[in-house]
């Protein structure tokens, strides 16, 4: 099975003046293509920090990362931005849609901005993605007139726009009611199954974690060994 992501020995130490906070103390993560993986752990355990590092939004203090066969440590900020644009998709707890644009424009944005405009191909893809997330009839709605769940589904469609190798989601259902959360989760499962998208989802929600292929648990800045721990109590 091919690997989408391999991260080894990720260390993250925040410095605030004299004060040092070691949030990650040597984290190894591996994701195979087409996996749906939950990242869990207590609040403050460093989940968001790890996602930011794996999403090339934050540079770790130490560690090696390879995504889609490419080492990313040496990349310039510009190259990292281009890499994020081409290879990664993001879904956040808050949808962060652009309020002045329609659902379709929001979805097409990550492709349109670098290309200088929404081409007919982009429009077609954006519309089919909206169809995929069940919002074909909302394509021309301004983002502000969508419900919370609909916005989050548009955000997922947007994350998929540039056919990313890896989709990183930080508590994508954290801000939604049960029903909307269920829909968003169903959707990610579907995309994962049908299109083979690789997902790394950080969540507090046991339902979400339960529906993933496997889970990575962060404890005290390290990955807790999972191997059937619940089945074989000490």
């Amino acid at each position: 099975m091919s690997r989408v992501l391999q991260a080894r020995g990720i260390v993250m130490t925040f410095r605030n003046g004299d004060e040092e906070t070691e949030v990650l103390r040597g984290v190894d993560v591996e994701l195979a293509t087409g996996e749906l993986v939950a990242l869990v752990g207590a609040s403050g355990s460093g989940k968001s920090t790890l996602l930011s590092i794996l999403g090339l939004l934050l540079r770790p203090t130490a560690g090696e990362i390879e995504i889609a066969g490419q080492r990313v440590e040496g990349m310039s900020e510009r190259a990292r931005a281009a890499f994020r644009n081409q290879r990664l998709g993001f879904v956040f707890q808050f949808h962060h849609l652009l309020p002045d644009f329609t659902a379709m424009e929001n979805v097409a944005f990550p492709a349109a901005a670098p290309a200088g405009g929404i081409t007919p191909d982009m429009r077609r893809r954006a519309l089919s993605l909206l169809d995929r997330v069940g919002l074909a009839d909302r394509a021309d709605f301004p983002a502000t007139r969508l419900s919370g769940g609909q916005k989050q589904r548009v955000a997922i469609a947007r994350a998929l726009m540039n056919k990313p190798d890896l989709i990183i989601a930080d508590e994508p259902t954290g801000n939604l009611d049960l029903r909307s959360a269920g829909q968003v989760l169903d959707l990610m499962g579907e995309v994962n199954r049908e299109d083979g998208g690789t997902f790394l989802i950080c969540t507090h929600d046991e339902h979400v974690a339960a529906r993933c292929d496997r889970r990575i648990q962060l404890v005290d800045g390290r990955v807790q060994p999972q191997d059937e721990g619940s089945d074989h109590p000490d």
Partner: protein, 402 residues
């Protein structure tokens, strides 16, 4: 261009704020145009008043200086210059000179003259006058006299004299009466006042007498030459240039009208500086207005911009979005300001007082429209550079974590 679309969308998403911003820019532009048109109009009016009644370039014989031996350059040579007095100062070859001048483009009129000082004597009354002897057919070439006659007529004839109202009053003269002219060359002749004019210019109306060139010759002892040649141009603004050229071409001393009216030039320059100051301040206020609006807008859109950065959209794109907003605001405000500025100036220029004169000498066509449009647009784009740059540097994490 997608950045342009985003910039437009940002501007239209908050129409009230954008309208306010564009109006502010337009107001600044209107002030700029008003001041420019006023200063220019004032300059035109003052210049017109001066140039309408006097020569634009005057040609006289160059002052002959006694030869000076080269010496210590530190010694100011004026200190030892001696004006040669051996020869009569006159333009002998005035006919060929006049011909040469007439061949130059942009010359509208030319008048060879004999100018000198004299006294008008009537009974016991004596008044000093500046006498101008000119060709009768060129009487109005430099100063419009015929249209300003209040008595008599403009035909000079062999013994005719035209004087101003003030002078006529001082000597108790009216058209048709004889008067004795005694020149500083010792010439004396009884002449007839043919007409009395009133130009409204104190110096002309009280001190000048016109007679024909032929009449002046014996009186000033100049059988062939003239003392000066006065020239009018199509464009008085070129006087300096033409004077320089003529001085070189004829060897005569050429004086542009500006040099005879240094006070006017100083006044115009002072006015111009005041205008420039106001123009600069209106541009600065435009730039500050646009900059502060865009700084606020960039601040409000931090999280949006941050998310764009998270999606790997380049800093250049974000810079473009904000600078294009500046450009659009500058263009819209500039164009609107040009329209309102022209409207305001045209309205003010159309106002007339009881006598039918415009109280404000505004020149609406001289509002500096192209300049202000370009300056405003450049200013607005520059004003957006700082907010654009800071927006492009927003850390995506900040946007996501809030």
């Amino acid at each position: 261009m997608f950045a342009l679309k985003v910039a437009r969308r940002y501007l239209t998403s908050n129409p009230a704020q954008t309208v306010l911003l564009v109006t502010g820019v337009a107001l600044g532009v209107t002030v700029f145009i008003f001041i420019t048109a006023l200063i220019e109009g004032l300059a035109v009016r003052l210049t017109d008043e001066v140039t309408a009644n006097s020569a634009h370039v005057s040609l006289e014989p160059a002052t002959r200086l006694a030869e000076i031996l080269p010496g210590d350059p530190a010694v100011r040579t004026e200190g030892v210059a001696l004006v040669s007095t051996f020869q009569r100062r006159q333009i002998r070859a005035w006919r060929s000179t006049a011909e040469l001048i007439t061949r130059q483009p942009g010359i509208s009129a030319l008048s060879p003259q004999i100018s000198g000082n004299a006294f008008l004597v009537k009974g016991e009354a004596v008044q000093p006058v500046s006498v101008t002897g000119l060709e009768p057919e060129g009487l109005d070439a430099i100063t419009p006299i015929t249209p300003n006659l209040v008595a008599g007529q403009g035909a000079l004839g062999a013994d005719g004299l035209l004087i101003g109202t003030q002078l006529a009053e001082d000597l108790g003269l009216t058209a048709g009466q004889p008067v004795l002219l005694r020149t500083d060359r010792g010439g004396e002749r009884l002449l007839t006042v043919r007409g009395v004019f009133k130009t409204g210019l104190q110096s002309l109306d009280s001190r000048v007498a016109f007679l024909s060139l032929q009449t002046a010759r014996p009186l000033f002892d100049l059988p062939e030459g003239v003392t000066n040649i006065e020239i009018k141009l199509d464009d008085p603004g070129r006087a300096r240039e033409v004077a320089d050229f003529l001085a070189g071409a004829t060897g005569l001393r050429a004086t542009p009208w500006q040099d005879k009216n240094l006070n006017l030039e100083d006044a115009l320059e002072a006015q111009g500086r005041t205008g420039t100051l106001i123009q600069i301040f209106s541009l600065i206020s435009i730039i500050i207005g646009v900059a502060s609006a865009l700084v606020l807008s960039a601040y409000r859109r931090r999280s949006e911009v941050g998310i764009m950065r998270a999606f790997g959209i380049s800093g250049g794109f974000i810079v473009a979005v904000f600078m294009l907003q500046g450009l659009l605001i500058g263009l819209a405000g500039g164009l609107l300001g040009c329209v309102s500025g022209y409207g305001l100036c045209s309205f003010l220029a159309s106002l007339t007082d009881a006598e039918g004169n415009a109280p404000l000498p505004i020149a609406p066509e001289r509002g500096g429209y192209v300049a202000v449009l370009i300056l405003t647009t450049i200013g607005a784009v520059l004003a957006s550079a700082f907010p654009a740059r800071s927006a492009s540097r927003i850390d995506p994490l900040e946007a996501i974590q809030q």
